[in-house]
């Protein structure tokens, strides 16, 4: 028997009774995650549609309010998430090739980058509170957009807040993967959880890829 290969009985113990083979089980999990991600597209899509509607109705207020966001922090966070996606992809590759230490290492790097993203997001939120840019009675904005700029910031907090919540859930999922990898739960034949969690992490990255230009980069040339 090849080292690192599973015996037939070991393989059978990993396959749930409704599946014929480990590969079929992996495919079912893969498609299940894609179906969930399609519902996530609808979830974020509702907010994106609302954003499009109000940006069209109040172009001046959206441009003026967008200029209050710090492009440097937004761009840095975009790059951090892209590096974290690379690290996640390399973690999946490590699981496929059966390298446990590398798998744990890349998962930890991904988690650290996710935490850095959330830290920078926290700094930005703090600045918004300090600059009176949180919608509500304390909101202060230059005329003539005192009221309509609040609509932009409502979308800003709703979209980035839901995205940050997804990042937090991702950090939890990665923690579970690290623990399972530590306990030697993954082999080249059995690593579906790593790949499927990777799909989720990459999806959250894609949401931010759209949020960055739509929130931070409106009419910057003026």
């Amino acid at each position: 028997m090849q080292p690192g290969r599973l015996t037939l009985s070991e393989t059978n113990s990993l396959v749930a009774h409704q599946f014929e083979t480990l590969e079929q089980q992996h495919l079912a999990g893969w498609l299940g995650m894609w179906i969930f991600l399609a519902t996530e597209v609808m979830f974020f899509g509702g907010m994106f549609a609302g954003y499009a509607l109000y940006r069209w109705a109040y172009p001046g207020a959206f441009a003026a309010a967008s200029r209050e966001l710090e492009v440097l922090l937004g761009a840095t966070n975009t790059l951090i998430l892209i590096v974290s996606s690379l690290s996640m992809a390399l973690a999946v590759h490590s699981a496929e090739t059966g390298r446990r230490q590398r798998l744990i290492g890349f998962l930890l790097v991904t988690m650290a980058l996710g935490a850095a993203f959330l830290g920078i997001k926290g700094i930005e939120y703090l600045q918004k509170f300090e600059h009176h840019l949180v919608p509500g009675s304390g909101f202060v904005f230059a005329a003539p957009f005192q009221r309509t700029a609040q609509i932009f910031f409502s979308f800003y907090f709703a979209l980035t807040g839901m995205h940050a919540l997804h990042m937090l859930i991702g950090e939890g999922l990665l923690t579970a993967l690290v623990i399972r990898a530590w306990r030697n739960a993954f082999t080249p034949e059995h690593h579906a959880a790593v790949e499927i969690t990777g799909l989720y992490w990459h999806f959250v990255d894609i949401v931010w890829i759209f949020l960055f230009p739509l929130l931070y980069l409106i009419e910057r040339h003026r």
Partner: protein, 117 residues
């Protein structure tokens, strides 16, 4: 379900493309392209998302069944945004009785650029 055809070098190449496009989209935002600024921003975002889906998410290397679910997500997102905007954009084409024109969403008429408060 393994994807042995993908090498770490390919992942790094995709990452380099994504990082470059992030810098491009930031730079382009500071150039006045008129109505094409949002078009450029969204085009670059779609290209970046496609790279992530095809390579980081392994869709390029897997069966066609995944495309059914991706296609469904993208199609319904397009419906959601297109029909929402087509309603809002076409409303002023039909005369509306005067008491209704001062709605919260459309002060002074939608898209007229007037009376944003």
């Amino acid at each position: 379900m393994t994807t042995q055809t993908i090498t770490p070098r390919m992942y790094v190449a995709v990452f380099a493309a994504l990082a470059t496009l992030t810098l491009v989209t930031t730079g382009v935002a500071y150039i006045d392209l008129g109505v094409f600024n949002p078009v450029a921003a969204l085009t670059i975002a779609v290209v970046k998302a496609t790279l992530v889906v095809l390579f980081f998410m392994h869709v390029w290397f897997r069966g066609k069944l995944t495309w059914v679910f991706i296609g469904a997500g993208v199609l319904w997102l397009a419906f959601l945004i297109a029909f929402t905007l087509s309603d809002a954009v076409t409303r002023p084409w039909i005369p509306i009785p005067t008491p209704w024109t001062g709605s919260a969403l459309y002060p002074g008429g939608p898209g007229s650029g007037g009376a944003e408060r």
